[in-house]
C-alpha cells in the first residue's frame, strides 16, 4: 500500500515538474518577447500571401510535432541559421541574429515548445533508413533539392536556398511530422512557397521522401 502511494506521489511530483517547466517556458517565451515574431496558438493563421509576408518568423504552434527536443533545446542556446536567406526574403542572407537563451531558459522554453502539438501527426509511421526511392524523388522526380540545401554523400552541401536547409533534418525534424507536413499542407501551413504535392505523390512516396530527409545527419 505504502509502495503504491509512494509511486502515485512520485508520478504526481513528476507531472508537477513537467507542468511547472512548461509554464516556466511559456513565461520565458513571453518575457523574451519571442511572441513578437512567433505565434504559438493554432490553427494556422495565414490565409493569404500578405498574411505570410507580414510574419516576422516561423509559426510555432506545432513545434512539438515538428522538432526533436534535444536539438531544439541545444539550438535555443546557440541559434544558427536554418534558412540560408532572411525570413520572407529572396535577396538578403540570413543575418544570423536570432537571440540566444541561457541553458536554463532553453530547457524550459524547449519544454514549452515541445508541448505545442496539433494532434495531426501519427507517431511511428516513418521508418528512418536509407531510402533509394525517397532519394530519387528528392533529387530528380520532384526535386526538393531545388529549394532545400542538403549534404551529398561526401558531405558537400548543395541545393537551393529559398527553403529551410535540410542538411541536419535528421536531428532537427520529427520524421513523422515531415510526412504529415507533406500530406496536410493546408492544415500546417496553407500559404507557403513550397508546392502542394497532395495528388502528385502517393502517401507511400511521401513516406519515402520523409524517410530520406529524416536520414540526413550532419557529418561528424
Amino acid at each position: 500500500m505504502r509502495q503504491k502511494l509512494a509511486s502515485v506521489t512520485g508520478a504526481v511530483c513528476l507531472l508537477a515538474m513537467a507542468t511547472a517547466s512548461y509554464a516556466d517556458g511559456q513565461a520565458v517565451f513571453e518575457a523574451k518577447e519571442c511572441v513578437a515574431c512567433h505565434y504559438t496558438e493554432g490553427p494556422a493563421q495565414e490565409k493569404t500571401i500578405e498574411d505570410q509576408q507580414a510574419k516576422l518568423g516561423p509559426e510555432l504552434w506545432y513545434a512539438g510535432d515538428k522538432f526533436q527536443a534535444e536539438w531544439l533545446t541545444a539550438w535555443l542556446t546557440d541559434p544558427q541559421p536554418i534558412r540560408p536567406l532572411k525570413f520572407n526574403s529572396l535577396t538578403e542572407d540570413n543575418p544570423a541574429d536570432h537571440p540566444a537563451l541561457s541553458a536554463d531558459e532553453a530547457a524550459s522554453v524547449g519544454e514549452f515548445l515541445m508541448g505545442l502539438t496539433s494532434g495531426e501527426v501519427e507517431a511511428g509511421t516513418v521508418k528512418v533508413k536509407k531510402n533509394a526511392k525517397g532519394r530519387q524523388i528528392f533529387t530528380k522526380k520532384m526535386p526538393c533539392s531545388g529549394c532545400h540545401e542538403y549534404a551529398g554523400r561526401k558531405g558537400n552541401v548543395s541545393g537551393g536556398r529559398s527553403g529551410p536547409s535540410l542538411v541536419d533534418a535528421g536531428v532537427r525534424l520529427n520524421p513523422d511530422w515531415i510526412l504529415a507536413y507533406l500530406q496536410k499542407p493546408e492544415f500546417f501551413k496553407p500559404v507557403k512557397m513550397m508546392p502542394v504535392f497532395v495528388g502528385l505523390l502517393s502517401d507511400k512516396d511521401m513516406a519515402n521522401v520523409a524517410a530520406h530527409v529524416a536520414n540526413f545527419k550532419p557529418k561528424k
Binding site: I49, Q53, T91, P143, G160, S162, V198, L200
Partner: protein
C-alpha cells in the same frame, strides 16, 4: 431613373478600374512569392535557388525570342504540370495543386508583360 442608371454605370466603372490594378498587383505578388525563387524577381532566371549546383537554367522570361516559341497554352501547361509535361526539367515543379486557375491565367499574362511578346499564336 436616369440618375440611378448613371450612378450604376459610374459605380461599375469605378469598380472595374479598381479591380484591374488590384488583379495585376495580386499577380505580381503571386509571381514574387512562388516563381521568383528560381526565375528571379525580374524574370531573368536568376533566383536565389540558382546556385552553381542547379542542374538547369530556369527560363529567362525577358528573352522574347525564347518566350515566343511558346503559346499561352504551353506556358499554362508548364505551370500546372511542371517541366516534364513539355519534355523539360522536373526542376520546374507542377504548381497545379498549389495555384488557382485564376492565378495561373494571371501569371501567363504577367509573363507576357515581362517578355513584351505575344507568344506563339494558334
Amino acid at each position: 431613373m436616369k440618375y440611378v442608371t448613371t450612378l450604376a454605370a459610374v459605380t461599375g466603372l469605378t469598380a472595374l478600374l479598381n479591380a484591374v490594378p488590384a488583379a495585376a498587383a495580386d499577380t505580381e505578388m503571386v509571381y514574387q512569392f512562388y516563381c521568383a525563387q528560381c526565375h528571379g524577381s525580374t524574370g531573368k532566371g536568376d533566383g536565389p535557388n540558382v546556385t552553381k549546383d542547379f542542374p538547369v537554367s530556369p527560363r529567362n522570361f525577358t528573352d522574347a525570342a525564347e518566350m515566343n516559341k511558346l503559346s499561352n497554352a504551353d506556358v499554362k501547361n508548364v505551370i500546372l504540370d511542371g517541366g516534364p509535361s513539355v519534355s523539360k526539367s522536373p526542376m520546374m515543379p507542377p504548381w497545379g495543386k498549389t495555384l488557382t486557375e485564376e492565378e495561373v491565367d494571371g501569371l501567363v499574362q504577367y509573363l507576357r508583360v515581362i517578355c513584351a511578346c505575344e507568344g506563339k499564336q494558334g
